[in-house]
Each structure stands twice: as structure tokens, then as C-alpha cells.
């Protein structure tokens, strides 16, 4: 049971670091420590009562370990869960601090600065964790995709969206004293969603590639514990709400106003994902019918949300804190990116001659953000004016993400091929020749390998690929190792399937456009956040 142990190690580590960063006479230290200790206690009890690591497994001890699942024997996967959990758990700090603030009852205190960098760091870990998980799924699981709207991916995305909304409103509330109540609510929500994620993964109530343990007892404990913690916090929040509601009003047309709009959009997407995750359960509990909610639902919901978000981001690029944006400026801000994006869309349509309304909405949204920040950055550099480089880089990352995901969805394709060793065929315009040269069988440390040697003549270039199948000795599990050739625009992704009766082998050849850009854009977002932290330190 690694997950509860992970939680506890990170929980205590974050707690010690944060508590020691506060002065001893800090008015909130006492209550923060109380909240952190209560949460640690809850998780320690969880470990002790439901997944005691020292308990004997059976009346008869296992003779031999079952070996770690082969698909998990991979470096990216050794880093992905710790990163993800560091992120999830990191938000315990803002959660405890906000609850302490609410308990304390002195609302003259400024609390934003104390947790800002801590939350930024947690956000960075969470982002890296999710991106690594997606990258691992791409090259190791052999599905050739990067995101599957799997329930466990969704429960990681919900805290991420909440955290992103939280960061934004935290900036606003520390800059101009608005949205304070809202920021607090989000701070509580992130941790509640993280706990919900732990509950989903551990209880096994939702079928998913990620749900490892199927144990109602654990689920019930986690549910009641996380419910108690969240309800405690929310009840105090609701109790204090009338006193809190005195912060300043948001000026229409100011940066805060657009930021609040996007906050609403992020909450909408969290709610939509939540509905997508729980809907099958609701239906099943009503009439026993099994339904599944897949990519079409999420794509349809997200396309319009992304477009609206992109428009607000575009407008807010030139907006000012606490001051309304003049209509004239607004026009000059939004006209160039819109025109440039429309022109680019036209060229994309001309060159690819594919059309999909959802994908084009995504491309348009991505381009709007990219062009807005590009023009703004050029303008600022030219006039040697100060601008927030961290924000520019992070938002460029977001624009790039929308663009890459949408381009990937319209351009990528898959071919299933059937070849005997020594055979060679022509696949399409781009892959002129596909030669299956040889197949070799050999032994590695803990698995047997069947390795195919394939050479491709793609776009006038000779590529050699070695997709493998592995059989792991201990579990007898068979895995497929993809072989990937990356160029600037696309990945050539090859996996080997089964051998047919006539001796030929099946191959799946996927051409994935812009896929590496997705992780590059995540890296940009992280870089942007890092810059924000270090800029704060410097000033």
C-alpha cells in the first residue's frame, strides 16, 4: 500500500517545512498546526486501521512476491506518483492556513502572502505529476494517446483546475484586496477535491485502469474522514461568511473582472468533470443500468468553455488592476489577435482540408491566446516596458496546449498492418515504404523479448523502429513496448500486435501530430510559475 504511506510522508514533510517557516508569534500558527496535526492523525489512523503495512497478509505467508506490474517498471512512473502526491498534499498548507484564519476570527490579518509561494510550488508539482503521467501513458501503455478522460485522470484534473483558479484569485486578492472570500473557498475546495481523488482511487467504486484496491472498508474510512475535514472547514466558512463579505467590489472591465469570469469557467469545468465522473454511479444507483461517459462528453463540454476562456484571457492581457478598460483600447487589443487567428485557421484549413467544429474551436482559442501574448510581448520589449514574464510564458503554454491538442485530434491517424518478416508494403503518401526486416527473440533480466526490426521510408527519410513485446516471468503478463520516432511536427508511433496463423504479424502504426508539443506546453506553464516565484523573491 504505497499511497497512504506517500500521503503521510509528504503531509508531514510539507507540514514541518511550513510550520517552521512561520514566526513563533504568528497569530495563525497555533490553529494551522492544529489543522495539520488533525489531518496527519486521520491519515495515520487510516494506515493503522485499514492498511497496516506490518500486518500478516494471510494465515500462510506468500512464498514469493508478485513482482511489480510490468507497465509500472519504468522511470517516468517512479517519478509520476511522488510528483502528483506532492502536489495534492501540498495544498494541505493553504487549506489548513485558511481554516486557521477562519477559526482565528481576526479578519484584519493579511494571509495571502504567507501561502502564495507554497501554493505555487504545490501547483508546479501537480502539473508535473499530471504531465508525466500522461507522457508515460503515451509511450509505455502502448495506446498511443495522452489523455483518456479516465476517472482517475479526471480526479487529478479537478484539483488542478481548482488550484489554477485559486492561484489566479490569490494574485487578485493579494494585489487589490478583492475576491478574498472566493479565494478562501477555492483553497478549501482544492484540498477537498484532492481527498476525493484519494477516495476514488482507493475505494474502487469506479472502474478505471488506475483503481488498484477494491476495498469498501478503506473507502468508507477515507470517505468519512475526508468528509469530516471538508465539512469542518466549510461549516466555519459558512458561519463566517457574513463577516467576510465586506471586501471591495470588483470593477467591471478591470483585470480582476476577467479573471473572475475565468474563475467561474474553471468552476464550471470542475463541475462538468465531477458530473462526468459520478453520472454513471448516479444512473447505476437509480436503475442499475451501466453507462459510461467518454471523450465525446468532455470534448463537447470543453470546446465552448475553452473558447470563452480564451476570449477573456485575450481581453485581460491589456486590462489593468482595479481600473476599467477603455473601449478603444479594448478594440485595439482584441482586433489583431482575432484577425491573425482567423487567417491562420484559414491556412490550416487549406493545407489540411479537414474540418471539425470542436477542433477548430480549440485551435482558434489556442491561437487567440498565443497571438495576444506574442503581440503584447513584442510591444513591451520594443517599448522597454515592464511586463509579467511569468504570466506571459505560462499563458503561452496554455495557448500552445489548446492548439496542440486540437491539431492532434484532427491530423493524427492510425493504420493497422499485417506483414510477414521480410515483407514490405507502401502505406500512404507519407509512409512510402514499410519493411518488416526481421523478428528476434531474446532474454532480458526479468522478461523475454520479441523484438521486430522495421524500417520506414517516411517523407523521403529512412527510419528504423524496434517495437517489442515482452513477457514478464513472474506474472506471465505480456506488455507491448512502442517504438517512437519524433520529428518537429509529428511522432511516428509503432506497436507490434499478435502473430497470425499464417505467420505474419499485426502492427499498429500511428502518426501523432503535435503530440510532443503537449508536454512542451506543460513545461512552459511550469516555467512561467517558476519565474513568478523567483520574481517575488527578487523584489
Amino acid at each position: 500500500m504505497k499511497a497512504p504511506c506517500f500521503w503521510i510522508v509528504f503531509l508531514t514533510a510539507w507540514s514541518i517545512l511550513f510550520i517552521n517557516s512561520l514566526d513563533n508569534d504568528h497569530p495563525l500558527k497555533k490553529f494551522t498546526l492544529l489543522m495539520l496535526s488533525l489531518i496527519i492523525l486521520g491519515f495515520l489512523l487510516f494506515l493503522l486501521l485499514t492498511s497496516n503495512p506490518f500486518e500478516r497478509i494471510l494465515p500462510f505467508g506468500a512464498l514469493e512476491g508478485a513482482d511489480i506490474n510490468p507497465v509500472l517498471q519504468d522511470p517516468a512512473l517512479a517519478i509520476h506518483p511522488p510528483m502528483l502526491y506532492l502536489g495534492y498534499v501540498g495544498f494541505v498548507i493553504s487549506f489548513s492556513f485558511i481554516t486557521a484564519y477562519l477559526l482565528n476570527g481576526n479578519f484584519e490579518l493579511q494571509w495571502e502572502q504567507d501561502i502564495k509561494n507554497w501554493s505555487l510550488v504545490a501547483w508546479i508539482f501537480l502539473t508535473i505529476g499530471i504531465a508525466l503521467g500522461s507522457w508515460w501513458a503515451y509511450y509505455e501503455l502502448g495506446w498511443g494517446g495522452y489523455w483518456f478522460w479516465d476517472p482517475v485522470e479526471n480526479v487529478a484534473l479537478m484539483p488542478w483546475l481548482a488550484a489554477t483558479a485559486f492561484m489566479h484569485s490569490l494574485f487578485a486578492s493579494s494585489k487589490s484586496n478583492v475576491l478574498k472570500t472566493w479565494t478562501m473557498f477555492l483553497g478549501i475546495l482544492i484540498f477537498a477535491l484532492s481527498l476525493f481523488g484519494a477516495f476514488i482511487v482507493r475505494s474502487g467504486i469506479i472502474d478505471s485502469v488506475h483503481s488498484f484496491a477494491n476495498d469498501p472498508e478503506r473507502g468508507l474510512y477515507l470517505l468519512s474522514f475526508s468528509g469530516l475535514i471538508t465539512l469542518f472547514s466549510l461549516t466555519i466558512f459558512a458561519y463566517r461568511l457574513p463577516v467576510l463579505n465586506s471586501s471591495k467590489l470588483v470593477v467591471t472591465g478591470s483585470k480582476e473582472s476577467f479573471l473572475s469570469m475565468n474563475n467561474i469557467l474553471m468552476i464550471t469545468s470542475i463541475f462538468s468533470i465531477f458530473l462526468g465522473v459520478t453520472y454513471p454511479l448516479i444512473i447505476e444507483s437509480i436503475n442499475g443500468e451501466k453507462v459510461s461517459i467518454g471523450p465525446p462528453y468532455y470534448n463537447t463540454i470543453f470546446a465552448p468553455l475553452i473558447l470563452i476562456a480564451a476570449i477573456f484571457i485575450m481581453i485581460s492581457v491589456d486590462a489593468l488592476w482595479q481600473r476599467s478598460l477603455p473601449l478603444r483600447t479594448l478594440f485595439f487589443t482584441i482586433a489583431p489577435p482575432i484577425i491573425l487567428s482567423l487567417v491562420s485557421i484559414y491556412f490550416i484549413w487549406r493545407t489540411t482540408s479537414v474540418f471539425s467544429i470542436l477542433a477548430y474551436i480549440g485551435i482558434f482559442s489556442g491561437l487567440l491566446i498565443l497571438f495576444s501574448y506574442l503581440l503584447r510581448t513584442i510591444n513591451n520589449l520594443f517599448n522597454k516596458r515592464f511586463f509579467n514574464k511569468g504570466s506571459a510564458i505560462a499563458h503561452t503554454g496554455l495557448g500552445l496546449l489548446f492548439f496542440a491538442v486540437s491539431m492532434n485530434s484532427i491530423l493524427s491517424y492510425e493504420k493497422n498492418l499485417n506483414l510477414a518478416p521480410g515483407q514490405s508494403i507502401s502505406v500512404d503518401q507519407s509512409v512510402k515504404e514499410f519493411s518488416f526486416n526481421d523478428i528476434r527473440v531474446f532474454k532480458a533480466s526479468n522478461h523475454d523479448v520479441i523484438s521486430a526490426e522495421v524500417s520506414l521510408l517516411q517523407d523521403g527519410q529512412e527510419i528504423s523502429l524496434n517495437p517489442q513485446k515482452r513477457k514478464y516471468a513472474t506474472r506471465g503478463q505480456i506488455t507491448s513496448e512502442s517504438s517512437i520516432h519524433t520529428t518537429f511536427f509529428k511522432d511516428t508511433y509503432l506497436t507490434i500486435g499478435d502473430q497470425l496463423d499464417n505467420g505474419s504479424w499485426t502492427f499498429s502504426l500511428k502518426i501523432n501530430y503535435f503530440i510532443k508539443w503537449i508536454w512542451f506546453s506543460a513545461a512552459l506553464m511550469v516555467l512561467g510559475m517558476l519565474l513568478t516565484i523567483f520574481k517575488k523573491k527578487a523584489s
Binding site: 494471510l58 494465515p59 500462510f60 475505494s203 470517505l223 468519512s224 471538508t230 459558512a238 454511479l281 444507483s285
Partner: protein, 173 residues
């Protein structure tokens, strides 16, 4: 308005919590035992003594228990099966992917709760039955596979899944 908002902030999470608790508390085992009954698959196999098994032996109310000498959880459920057999419940073994010498030695050592055990070294019958692993138990009423229990058989699963069906069958006949 503000009162309502304060109320909702607390009540909505409570509703969500109750919903999940309710789903969790629906017994997992009962959920999995929703099972369409089907005819027992045809087979030609011997028992562990080497005598061919007659398909008539599956008439009446029988429990078919999938076991193997390599299966550790089978040892865990073994005392419970022995108790069942002492209460005149008829249990037939399906010796799964095992060798007859090891299987017979196992029965010798731990005791034999089975009327007889079908010897299925390649897992052919198990495949037709849809066995997921050992141990697994099937309730067979007059050559019909009516229900099954995955994993270890115990008092709780016996009472919640097999016993009601057996009582129903007895009342019907």
C-alpha cells in the same frame, strides 16, 4: 440569499457524501453475483481417481468449487468447505491446472470435503465455465449454473449469495 448560500455550502457536500456512502455500502459481493444462469457446459473429464465423470452427477443442488494444490486461498476456505460438507451440502471439486499426484496428496494432508473432484489439468472445463481463478465457487441446480462466488468462500458470502438461492430452489421443488 446569503442565508441560502451559507446553507448550501454545507448541505451540498453532505448530499454528495451520503450518496457515495450509499454506493459503497451496497454489498460488492451481491453486486457481482448478478449472474445470468446458463446450462452447465458439456465436458469429458475424469475425476482425480481416473474414473470418467458422469454428467448426471450434477443433478440436484451442488456446489462446484474450483481449487488447486498451489492455491493458497483455497487453504483458507478449506475449513469452511469442510464444515459445509459436514452439514450435508454436496460439494464437487474442480481441480484446476494442477497435477493429480499433488492434488491427491493435498487432499490426503488437509482432508477431503468433496464428493469427488473433476480433474481439469489444462483448464478446459474451467474455460467454458468462465472461471477467473482459484478459488471460485459455483452454485449448480439441476445442471444449471445459477450463481457464483469469486475468491474465498466464507460464512458471509455463503449466507448472502448461495443460501437464499438454495432455499428458493428447495421451496420450488
Amino acid at each position: 440569499m446569503n442565508q441560502l448560500l451559507r446553507f448550501l455550502i454545507v448541505i451540498l457536500p453532505v448530499v454528495v457524501l451520503i450518496f457515495f456512502a450509499k454506493i459503497l455500502l451496497i454489498d460488492e459481493d451481491i453486486k457481482f453475483s448478478n449472474f445470468d444462469s446458463k446450462n452447465f457446459p458439456e465436458f469429458q473429464l475424469n475425476d482425480l481417481n481416473g474414473d470418467p465423470v458422469q454428467s448426471e452427477s450434477l443433478n440436484g443442488i451442488k456446489i462446484l468449487n474450483v481449487w488447486a494444490s498451489w492455491c493458497i486461498t483455497c487453504l483458507v476456505e478449506h475449513p469452511f468447505l469442510t464444515r459445509l460438507s459436514e452439514q450435508n451440502i454436496q460439494i464437487i471439486g474442480l481441480n484446476y491446472k494442477d497435477s493429480d499426484s499433488k492434488a491427491n496428496a493435498w487432499l490426503e494432508k488437509h482432508g477431503n470435503p468433496y464428493l469427488f473432484s473433476i480433474y481439469d489439468p489444462r483448464g478446459d472445463l474451467a474455460f467454458d465455465l468462465g472461471v477467473t481463478g482459484a478459488p471460485e465457487s459455483y452454485l449448480i441446480i439441476n445442471n444449471q449454473v445459477v450463481s457464483h462466488i469469486q475468491g474465498e468462500m466464507n460464512q458471509r458470502k455463503w449466507q448472502s449469495i448461495f443460501l437464499p438461492l438454495i432455499q428458493q430452489a428447495k421451496q420450488g421443488s
